[in-house]
């Protein structure tokens, strides 16, 4: 069970001071890392695309992001006339704050002594640790959804609908793959997850969850969080060709900047979470000098690698089509992660049970494939129960609900209503 020893028992002012210091440092680090991250992304992508990228502000264009941010302060803040003003203003907070808070549970280093108090090098270590991640990612769905809805404009609305559908779809897969980690850890605390990964197999293979869980949860997780933070190739939310800017089309000035900030914060945080869950967090070779520093170094290195991988994804992979995206989430990731979770659980109880479950799981997979096939064939025969998400008719002229509008297609009527 996680708990920062600093905050156990009597809490004096010095403890509070330490906490404040940790928080402020973390906050500053996040802001700086975002600036750097944007710069890295732009640079790496431009290198991959044979461009130069930002090179004016500061050395190698390092301050470009800061310049962009400052510029946005001086832009006019527009609020569309048809918007719901309160929610329009609220939405950026719902995006930004969860992005900050998620980072708190990431273990950055080991346990250190500060002013004579032992504390963990992570902002907070609540016993339910990883649930905070799930909670925050759920809240950030609201940020996206409400931003699009409150704009009172069609592109943001479609963007937000897509975004929230996508995010909740992948949240399930993400949750299931995290559950596998929880299963082997026996705790929800991120610190416990990290300590559980210490050690090696055979003296050289790290005892990381990546290996303990058999890679599959990691693959699922990385795909899921890529979709979760709307990074390419899953960035249909803001697919410029179709939706302009997606859910934040109507946002300008600093409000837009905050969404942007939240997105990068999330990307960085998710990289860090991935390191925590599957790559031992701050775990790494310890040369026995500067004992406290090495974990931090390892952590930063691993996180940076994953961030670059994201950038690489963006540069290398084409965007998915919406139906491919949803199919991937629902018909592949969720069943596979569920199956794998059961197999891991079975294996931990007894080898035999694990294999039995694996076989059963393969049978289930067969059943599911058949069901998918059946679904596809039935579509040839009759129309689906409900209308399409991508259907342009939801942009119809009437103020009545889109679902009524949807009913105008004969096939649906015939299936559901028109059989009198």
């Amino acid at each position: 069970m996680g708990a920062d020893p600093l905050l156990v028992g009597h809490i004096g002012w010095i403890d509070v001071l330490i906490v404040v210091i940790k928080v402020v440092v973390a906050f500053a680090a996040m802001m700086v890392s975002v600036l750097l991250a944007i710069w890295v992304e732009r640079k790496v992508i431009s290198d991959m695309q044979n461009r130069i990228g930002p090179n004016r502000a500061g050395p190698f264009g390092l301050l470009q992001s800061l310049a962009d941010g400052i510029k946005l302060f001086f832009k006019e803040d527009l609020i569309p006339e048809r918007s719901d003003r309160f929610i329009f203003k609220l939405a950026p907070y719902l995006s930004l704050v969860p992005a900050f808070l998620t980072f708190t549970i990431v273990p950055i280093g080991g346990v250190v002594d500060l002013f004579g108090h032992r504390t963990e090098l992570q902002v907070a270590d609540p016993p339910i640790g990883i649930l905070l991640l799930l909670a925050m990612s759920s809240i950030s769905v609201y940020g996206v959804m409400l931003a699009g809805w409150s704009s009172g404009s069609k592109y943001p609305l479609i963007g937000s609908v897509r975004a929230s559908a996508q995010m909740i779809s992948y949240e399930a897969a993400m949750g299931l793959s995290i559950a596998a980690v929880v299963l082997v850890t026996g705790s929800l605390s991120t610190r416990d997850m990290v300590t559980g990964q210490l050690g090696t197999y055979l003296g050289f293979i790290p005892h990381w969850n990546l290996i303990r869980l058999g890679v599959i949860p990691f693959v699922i997780f990385i795909v899921a969080i890529t979709a979760e933070v709307n990074r390419p190739p899953f960035d249909l939310v803001e697919a410029e060709q179709e939706l302009v800017g997606g859910f934040h089309t109507e946002y300008s000035s600093i409000r837009f900047a905050l969404f942007y900030l939240a997105e990068y914060l999330n990307t960085i945080t998710m990289s860090a979470i991935m390191v925590t869950l599957f790559f031992g967090g701050p775990d790494g070779p310890d040369p026995h000098v500067l004992h406290w520093l090495w974990p931090i170094v390892w952590f930063l290195v691993k996180t940076s690698i994953f961030f670059v991988i994201y950038v690489w994804f963006r540069a290398a992979l084409p965007r998915l089509r919406y139906d491919q995206l949803m199919d991937l989430g629902w018909k592949v990731l969720i069943p596979v992660s569920l199956l794998w979770l059961l197999v891991v659980a079975g294996m931990r109880a007894s080898r035999v049970l694990g294999f039995v479950l694996l076989v059963l799981g393969l049978i289930a997979a067969g059943v599911l494939l058949r069901a998918i096939d059946v679904g596809r064939r039935r579509r040839g025969q009759s129309a689906p129960v409900l209308p399409d998400l991508m259907d342009a008719s939801m942009l119809g002229p009437s103020p009545i609900p889109a679902m009524v509008e949807e009913g105008s297609t004969t096939a649906e009527e015939g299936d559901d209503d028109g059989r009198a």
């Binding site: 009545i400 679902m403 009524v404």
Partner: protein, 100 residues
Amino acid sequence: MIPVSWYLIVGALLFGLGAFGVLIRRNVLVMFMSIELMLNAVNLTFVSYARALNDVGGEVAVFFVLVVAAAEVVVGLGIIVALFRRRASVTIDDIARLKG
């Protein structure tokens, strides 16, 4: 420390608010949300009692209530959507074909 009874009172108030909402509001979705509010008020009450009684049973109850609430949400939304595919209104007064 805030005494447990305060939580109970808040729970009761929320429950009353929800019940009131179901009874007087005419928008189906609002009624629906009021029911959810009632369920969550119950959750609060359960947790408060669990705390006061130092018994984990009340907290476990919340799990079940959450599940049930979720199932209700699903079915309720399904019904509402199905109904309003034919009607543009979400007001209960417009849904009055059934009467004696």
